[in-house]
Subunit: 350 residues, 2 copies
DNA sequence: ACGAACTCGGAGAGCGCTTTCCGAAGTGTT
DNA sequence: AACACTTCGGAAAGCGCTCTCCGAGTTCGT
């Protein structure tokens, strides 16, 4: 109970307290702390000294209330109306995708002293509340994780003039900032690699057609295959989880026993496919060559290690953070989107 | 530009606006919105109607400023003074551990309408600011992710009376809420399984000795081994990443070529060990039996699938959230800790 | 019919901070 | 020495909300 410099008991010290200790007014302390205008250097020191002695820490809430700046951005994750006991969310968070994005965002935000607040929005009502909170200055802006299917959120955000950046392009064209990967190009890379390897019977395990990233990969792959004379690509749809990949592989194998090449729309499903292939007694890459997508940690961990299309998610997320910060600083700035070029990372599976 | 019900342009509507539309005072609107005291049912409806028409959403900041409740909890991740370009954080976020915890926390917090704000704290200064922010009511409480090594943070939190829950016990005894796994028991499970399988030369790949969870696993494993006559367990230390597991395995194999059993302190390192073993031409489990720890998604994905000690992280995180919420509601409540019992999940690797 | 007891809504004082507006000094010019 | 300028600190008005008072209106007991 011996009160040290920080007088840890009782309420946190306020500007008023510091002002009293320093023998000046609240306004002056505020100026010193925010480095505004030229305050007499002598007073300046007196104030900082008082700050130190009282252990004063500015109250962000109060500050935000008047400045209308919170130093926080929201990370919006859309929970597509999952049923209550559907573990969709856990699955999503456990997916390397989420972690990589958070890591990328933080690498930039942290340097700017900006915080990240996780927001899950599912229902129509949730969206309304989110927008309301953002308009009220609950956060300065939002990073929206790639939305499944068509979602009114992007439009709502732009309509209300809320600084926002999407990771993954919106399903419908909306004038909003976003970063994305050239998914079609990525799929093309995969197709050409498989073809160059001499595969003749090539199949695909795709993601849900409603998500743009997924449909781009599908169309990109189909297009390059068609260009090389493969008008028809047997395809089974998964949902980006390992289990769905395994199941899809079985289905595909049942209808196309001759398969010798495979493009899988993400590494997690590729992992599942690998298992199904092994169970079926097919060797990878000797019997079936396989190209994944993402270059997540799973790709390196897999045996055989996955040849995969690299998506620099961390960089993309970091760029999204930068874009958002810029847009917050200058809301009138032009809407911009940056598209990353994928790269094929050749390992063992193809 | 046709202004719909929400009048999306201009500033967000305030209580004052609603009051004007409803023809009552601010106070009454506030009462209606918060359901306080009995307001005349007729007025009640009038007010809600006005709320609907104006599209009013309460300003959390302003509300928090006076109520001293934010409806937000901080998720504190300690960045042990990593060097600037050390990708430690990215690694950490990409680890399934992070995602599982976030998922578990959100499952509970979401239902209570509580938000999660990510906080990374590294330096001494960062800790001070964190505490300051918390005392100021930046968040109602904190969930602290298992800290590497001895950290003053838990003590600082309790000293300042900030509701907090640790995930993973503190390195030094501190009267603070925490949830943890009976790590020693888990290691014992692994040891006994390996022994029962008939392994004679058993080694261990451990995590960093400074983190409590890690040291508990080490001591638990050593103890049971000793009890069964194995006084000496060859051990190599890793840092919980797959790469470190692979390297550790090589080292271990070099000094103990006779090895036929192995306990690895987490699944990610086990994955790495699996690779090193394969490269060395050892079959798992025939030549070397291996038990991992965590039962993360990696365990199922591995081939052979990992026999591992299950740590119900999602449940633990959910419980942490509940504990925190309870502690926030009643700060005088007793400090409590709940320890989860691990379970051995037998798959293929042992 | 009169006061006590109760119900309900408004006025207003803050929560901790920023920021405009002013007046009091200080500086330099003619 | 009188003027215009500039510099600097304080007073005070909010930011949007909650919540304690308090007064007015209603109901009921006697």
């Amino acid at each position: 109970m011996c009160y040290k410099s920080g007088m840890p008991s009782g309420r946190a010290p306020t500007l008023e307290d510091v002002a009293r200790v320093a023998g000046v007014s609240r306004a002056t302390v505020s100026r010193v702390i925010n480095g505004i205008r030229n305050v007499d250097p002598q007073l300046h020191d007196v104030v900082w000294d008082a700050v130190g002695r009282t252990g004063y820490v500015p109250n962000r809430l109060a500050r935000s209330l008047v400045t209308r700046r919170t130093g926080t951005v929201a990370l919006v994750v859309s929970d597509s109306e999952s049923h209550d006991d559907d573990p969709f969310m856990s699955r999503f968070f456990a997916d390397p995708y989420f972690g990589r994005v958070v890591g990328g965002l933080m690498s930039v935000l942290r340097a700017s002293g900006v915080q990240l607040a996780l927001q899950i929005v599912g229902t129509e009502d949730g969206r309304k509340r989110l927008i309301g909170d953002l308009r009220n200055g609950q956060a300065d802006g939002a990073v929206v994780l790639s939305l499944p299917a068509v979602d009114p959120l992007p439009r709502m955000l732009t309509d209300d003039g809320i600084p926002a950046v999407l990771i993954g392009r919106p399903a419908e064209p909306v004038p909003i900032n976003y970063v994305d990967l050239a998914n079609e190009t990525g799929a093309t890379l995969a197709a050409e690699h498989l073809l160059a390897r001499g595969c003749r019977q090539i199949g695909m395990i795709s993601g849900p057609a409603e998500v743009p990233a997924s449909s781009d990969r599908i169309s990109g792959f189909r297009r390059s295959m068609a260009k090389h004379g493969h008008a028809w690509v047997p395809t089974v749809t998964g949902n980006f989880t390992q289990e769905s990949g395994e199941a899809a592989m079985r289905t595909l194998l049942a209808s196309n026993p001759e398969l010798d090449g495979l493009f899988v729309a993400n590494d997690l499903m590729a992992l599942g496919a690998l298992l199904a292939l092994r169970d079926a007694g097919r060797r990878v890459p000797q019997d079936v060559a396989m190209v994944g997508f993402d270059d997540s940690s799973a790709a390196v961990a897999a045996r055989p290690a996955l040849t995969t299309v690299r998506q620099p998610l961390e960089d993309m997320a970091a760029e999204a953070a930068r874009l958002l910060l810029a847009h917050i600083d200058d809301p009138s700035g032009r809407v911009s989107s940056v598209i990353y070029e994928p790269k094929l990372v050749v390992r063992q599976s193809a």
